[in-house]
Amino acid sequence: MGETFLFDKKRYGYVFNIQHYSVHDGPGIRTIVFLKGCPLRCQWCSNPESQLQNPELGYNPSKCIGISKCLRCAEACIYGAVKQDLEENDKILIDRQLCKECLLCTEACPSKALEVFGKQTSIDDIIQAVEKDSAFYARSGGGLTFSGGEPLMQADFITEVLKVARRRRINTTIETCGYAEWPKFAKVCQHLNSLIMDIKCMDTEKHKKFTNASNELIIENFKKLCEEFPNLPILVRTPVIPGFNDSEEDIRAIIHFIKGRSNVRYELLPYHRLGQQKYNYLGKHYPLDGMRLNDETFNRLKEIANSLE
């Protein structure tokens, strides 16, 4: 399973979470399907488990009941990758050099301290999960939101899901960073009711430094999006990250770029560190440790952003 499994990319995708009762990402009460894999490496990324496309092993020590009470993971591991944590004696440590991500330990773990992030999921699985809340969509105008990761990394797959969703009258939207080949992007847009797209920074160098990718493709895509889909409601979002884009110039530059289109709305999201813990689960390092967003700064920027309306 650790190796890339060759499967029909139109019928299966890699999903790491399906979250019901989402009330902040698109109209109404929605279900978010989080897809795995992302072309960017944003330093503030709150979903580090979404970055790679393949399933990954995560370890949450606070759920682990301790090796004095349970050794099932160590017994299950055939590579000797489960070791005692020398700092916290009763907990384990995954030796990521030895671990082959066979994930046998996750099946053995009774407390779900060891868990797989990511699962091959079929179109039917998604539609079924999403339709569980259809009674709520009917009243609220909600539906399905694809998020990630970057959903356009699995454009073929989501296109197929979106087709089914449309036939079943499920309202759809995606949250995208906009970094994708335009034909794929365009194909997905044909089946959407609305779209949420990040524009993080207009300065190409800064963008590269903080996300590991240039913004040129994103900017090009946004222009094409507006030309080819003038009636698609678009919400542009900017996560405000201290030290990256929390200046008035940054925000004004984005507003200047997106303004003048009746189908485009704009929203700022304050930086948060909700994903920090998950870096530890994955044995990764959180790049922005210790950063805080100043409330005053954010409120001032929000006023500027509101001026677009």
């Binding site: 009762y21 009917a138 009243r139 409330d295």
Partner: protein
């Protein structure tokens, strides 16, 4: 602690009172003055009601009970101290100024003397009693009632095998919390009067009706002489009693007015005197009279008998509206004045504490619980939307003056106006849990299926916690059985025994489960245990229904009831012609049971990850040394997540119970419907159940109502609603209320968009035909508690920006971050 409806712990109550203290007093000086006069005082016991009832009962031995009750009421009305509180616009209280409780020795007189000595020191809901009053109780009141109370007689009447499931064999005062009766700590279950009748006709009108009927009786008929005559005489005496009580207030108010130097207060006292001289004897002529008349009626009803838990207020926005509208049009009142008068009633309500002396009654009603439900909204008898200007005044009052009184219930139907739902949503967002919502789309059709006409069903009023009454059609007042279904699981695992009770065979011997080969075998054994409990619950209820009329009468409640007046029968009579008897039995520990069965089905029989012997061993040791197994149990499928695996089991458990009552309710002549509304009793019921297969530790609370086990619902509120929907058997009419609490973080409902989404959530709940819904918009305190005790808050979702997360999964400093932000967002 999780709780049903609006039971505030003293701690929560303090928080709320602090919040009240910070609110703006402007325009509310009067009600805040009244509120501050009592809110810090510990409740006191007032003995007058018990004393005068007992004195009267000594004099009336041998007479028909309904007549004795009426005479006791009259004697009490003549002698009880009357009060007029400073600043108050309403008068009529049943005891000491400040917070107080009164005694009902007809329920607990035989052990009153012992209980009263313990009362000031009890941990839950303590009360003070003066030494003089204690002497009256011990020397005058208690001795009369020994050997006469209902609970003594019931204990003697129960068959042996029913008795041992009901009471502690050593001491019948203590419940066993297996098949629990609730008829001995109250004379009536929740009830709601047809107050409109009093407002329109006055007690004079009702008295005249009784007099005419009395004159028309057949003087030769033994039934007319021995049943109808005493009933009608009791009605007349009771009408006289309440009028006399009101007029004593009129006299006192006039005296005080003469002495009063402040001109404004003098005028107020003169107005009070005039009103009390007119109502409730005569029909109310304006809004102020209507409110005073209703208040006298409900207070006199509180004196008459112990209605558990407190007499409800009915559809206040409906029966007060004509008076309000007329006064408004004719310039006699404005919105602020009407609000002030209603809030005078709320602070008056807050002073009467429902006192329970029996250990069982106390356990059911922790924290001075009260459900004097005021119903707003809904539909008119002809099926139109019923909201009016008063509806909005009630909601606004709750937003601006968030007192824990009254218990506010909002009826919702499929065509409820958008403005109404938004006002309801805005009130919910205040975070005090009000109003609770009751669904017309479920309740009306069920009432119809049980024999009501449309106009009665559309006109139902919320009564008590989640029940619904048709005040002139319902005729069932017996306290109902609470059945510990989680104990049935334990009995199945230990072949009829429970760890709490050692070697005693408590249930059926359904076999050693380690010998069971299939899930079906286990399931059948469980159903046998569950059904055996129900058998004894119904036997118990049969005795209760027939024995209560020998102990309790309610002439006041009866004279407001069309059918009682028509048949000349007291409302506590077992069968009243034309009545619909809506009772229930309570399924305790639904989530605990379903999750336990799901574990056994999946882990033991299907996946074979665990043997029955291992499971039993783990439970016997309360999971000590079996921590890994407990984790497996905790991570098995759980009810409340819209997961069909457990929801199917939930529906099966529900159906088996429904099948029993469908078959046997008929012979009892009543509807004993399946209900899931535990008050606070899931705590004491949990105290007799050892560790359960869902990973719950021994003696911990059971799941409450139809909610998921604590922290087991991790898929958000839509999943909770869907699990409820999926587990209901809509083809059975034998179902009653299901209580459902939902926790939301304030950020989920923030702003205009949050209100819109809350409204659509409520509309979907209405579409799903779920009975009840109440929201906890969790605040900082809850987040702090969640941080301290994460296992109880696993399902709490928090939202900061562009991302939602389970609060307890966040790191400590992030939690602090969010706690700080929540405080910020609350401004």
């Amino acid at each position: 602690m999780e709780s049903c409806c609006n039971v505030l712990s003293p701690h929560e109550q303090r928080i709320q009172e602090e919040q009240l203290g910070k609110k703006n007093f402007e325009g509310r000086e009067r009600v805040f003055q009244i509120l501050t006069s009592f809110q810090d005082l510990r409740p006191k016991i007032d003995v007058e009601r018990a004393k005068y009832f007992t004195q009267s009962f000594r004099e009336t031995e041998g007479q028909p009970l309904v007549l004795r009750w009426a005479k006791a009421l009259k004697y009490t009305a003549e002698n009880i101290t009357v009060y007029i509180d400073d600043h108050q616009l309403l008068v009529g209280r049943a005891g000491y100024q400040g917070r107080y409780g009164i005694l009902f020795p007809e329920l607990d007189g035989d052990f009153l003397d012992v209980a009263i000595e313990q009362l000031p020191n009890r941990v839950e809901s303590p009360f003070d009693v003066t030494p003089e009053d204690a002497q009256v109780i011990i020397n005058e009141i208690a001795p009369y009632w020994k050997g006469k109370t209902f609970h003594e007689n019931l204990a003697m009447a129960l068959p042996e095998d029913t008795f041992k499931l009901t009471y502690d064999p050593e001491n019948p005062l203590n419940s066993r919390f297996l098949v629990n009766e609730t008829a001995t700590f109250r004379s009536s279950i929740q009830w709601v009067h047809d107050y409109e009748k009093v407002l329109k006709r006055g007690f004079k009108g009702i008295k005249e009706e009784a007099q005419q009927k009395l004159e028309a009786l057949d003087p030769m008929s033994p039934v007319d002489n021995m049943e109808k005559k005493p009933f009608l005489e009791a009605v007349i005496i009771t009408c006289d009693a309440i009028v006399l009580w009101a007029k004593r207030h009129a006299k006192l108010a006039a005296e005080l007015a003469n002495k009063e130097s402040d001109a404004q207060r003098k005028q107020e006292l003169q107005d009070i005197a005039e009103r009390c001289a007119w109502v409730p004897e005569n029909p109310a002529r304006d809004f102020r009279e209507a409110v005073q008349s209703q208040w006298f009626t409900q207070m006199f009803s509180r004196i008459e008998q112990k209605t558990g838990t407190i007499i409800s207020n009915g559809r206040m926005d409906q029966y007060f509206y004509p008076y309000y509208k007329k006064d408004l049009e004719e310039g006699r009142i404005n919105e602020d004045q009407a609000t002030e008068l209603l809030e005078c009633m709320w602070v008056a309500m807050a002073q009467f504490i429902d006192l329970y002396l029996s250990p069982t009654g106390g356990a059911f009603n922790e924290g001075y619980a009260h459900w004097e439900a005021v119903t707003v909204g809904g539909q008119t008898p002809d099926g139109l939307d019923a909201t009016n200007d008063l509806t909005y005044i009630f909601l606004k009052s709750k937003q601006e003056f968030p007192l824990n009184y009254p218990d506010l219930a909002a009826r919702i139907h499929s065509r409820a106006p958008e403005r109404y739902l938004y006002e309801v949503a805005e009130t919910i967002k205040e975070g005090t849990g009000f109003p609770k919502l009751i669904n017309d789309e479920e309740v009306v059709s069920l009432l119809l299926s049980k024999g009501a006409c449309f106009e009665e069903a559309y006109d139902y009023a919320v009564s008590g916690c989640a029940e619904c009454r048709m005040p002139n059609r319902d005729t069932y007042t017996s306290g109902n059985p609470y059945v510990n279904f989680a104990a049935a699981v334990e009995l199945t695992l230990y072949n009829g025994k429970m760890l709490k009770f050692g070697d005693e065979v408590v249930g059926l011997q359904t076999g050693d489960p380690t010998n069971f080969k299939t899930w079906d075998e286990f399931w059948n054994a469980y159903v046998a245990q569950q059904t055996n409990f129900l058998k004894h619950a119904f036997i118990q209820q049969h005795i209760i229904i027939n024995m209560r009329p020998k102990h309790f009468a309610t002439p006041l409640g009866s004279l407001m009831h069309d059918l009682c007046m028509e048949t000349c029968k007291d409302l506590h009579t077992p069968a009243i012609e034309g009545g619909i008897d809506l009772g229930y039995f309570e399924l305790m520990g639904y989530g605990t049971v379903v999750d336990s069965l799901a574990v056994i089905k999946k882990l033991v029989f299907e996946d074979k990850k665990l043997t029955m012997a291992e499971l039993v061993a783990a439970m016997k040791s309360n999971f000590e040394g079996y921590e890994a197994i407990r984790e497996m149990l905790l991570n098995a499928p759980k009810y409340g997540n819209n997961d069909s695996y457990s929801d199917v089991i939930a529906k099966d458990v529900d159906r088996e119970a429904l099948k029993f009552t469908k078959k046997y309710s008929k012979e009892l002549g009543v509807h004993l419907d399946l209900r899931l509304v535990p008050f606070t009793s899931h705590v004491p019921f949990g105290k007799v159940v050892s560790a359960t297969p869902n990973g719950r530790k021994a003696w911990a609370p059971l799941s409450d109502g139809s909610s998921a086990s604590h922290g087991a619902d991790v898929n958000g509120p839509t999943a909770v609603l869907m699990s409820n929907f999926n587990s209901k058997n809509y083809n059975f009419r034998n179902r009653a209320a299901r209580l459902l609490n939902i926790k939301l973080s304030p950020t989920c409902v923030a702003g205009e968009e949050g209100s819109a989404k809350l409204v659509s959530f409520i509309r979907t709940w209405c579409d799903l035909k779920l009975w009840h819904l109440q929201f906890n918009i969790v605040n900082k305190e809850t987040l702090l508690a969640a941080k301290k005790d994460p296992s109880k808050y696993r399902g709490l979702i928090v939202r900061v920006a562009g991302y939602s997360a389970y609060f307890v999964e966040l790191s400590s400093d992030l939690q602090d971050d969010i706690i700080a932000r929540t405080e910020h967002s609350a401004i």
